[in-house]
Amino acid sequence: MISFALKNNLSELDALCDHLSQFCQSCGVPKRQTFEINLALDELFTNIISHGFPDENEHHVHVTCDNEEGVFKITIEDDGIPFNPTDAPHPNLKCAFKDREIGGLGIHLIRSYMDRIEYTRKDGKNVLILTKNL
């Protein structure tokens, strides 16, 4: 298991990648799945940083990863404004090119690469649990 905290700044994406890569390597997660987990976590973190903190203060996003018996579980906690990604609308991927909208793809990618997404609002925090069967 690994736990780490990231500041509310997009430059922390490199630290996120480093922590995750080290952990995945230590427990033998293949490169492709490591990429998919990294992408889901990146999309979520970017969303939290872009929309979660309207104030100018420093905040921390706490991440815990665990890999047991072929199930990779990530818990992400932040004290930003309430945001439930499982409620987000699905983008229309089949529409004509001219109608394709810029945006909405991040959550679509999380849904595609993860097997389960659970959201709770607890003690003034967003708690999201992502699960991927390896």
């Binding site: 997009l10 430059s11 994406l13 490199d14 990648c17 492709r32 990429f35 998919e36 990294n38 992408l39 990146d42 999309e43 970017t46 872009s50 991927l93 089949k94 090119f97 001219k98 394709r100 810029i102 945006g103 793809l105 991040g106 679509h108 990618l109 595609s112």
Partner: protein, 110 residues
């Protein structure tokens, strides 16, 4: 992320090296649109050395494609890692973007 731009007679090639995420997408967008505004309407993005892409990178590519299509220009991608290609497929971007296996093929398409 490093971006190398090579100009040819009627097209430019952008070779991306590293990670294209929400932290690096802004710099990439600036370089790409600077080239388009300077009159180059045919572009190749060479992803041979691209290790990673997130939706922030896809957003820039969609924006550039929309811009180029309205100006009769063209954007062609090539040499993707298979897991990078899957991101384009899951997002439905392969339905409107030419994705070639090699740079040589991309040059023919552009």
């Amino acid at each position: 992320m490093d971006i190398t731009e090579t100009k040819h007679d009627y097209y430019s090639v952008f070779r991306l090296n590293g990670r294209l995420d929400s932290n690096t997408a802004t710099g990439f967008e600036q370089k790409l649109f600077e080239c388009i505004e300077n009159g180059t309407q045919r572009l190749i993005l060479d992803f041979q050395d691209l290790d990673y892409i997130s939706s922030a990178g896809l957003r820039v590519i969609l924006k550039a494609t929309k811009n180029l299509k309205s100006a009769e220009g063209k954007l062609v991608l090539c040499s993707m890692q298979d897991y990078v290609k899957e991101v384009f497929e899951i997002s439905g971007f392969d339905s409107f973007l030419p994705i070639e296996a090699t740079l040589d093929e991309a040059v023919k398409t552009v």
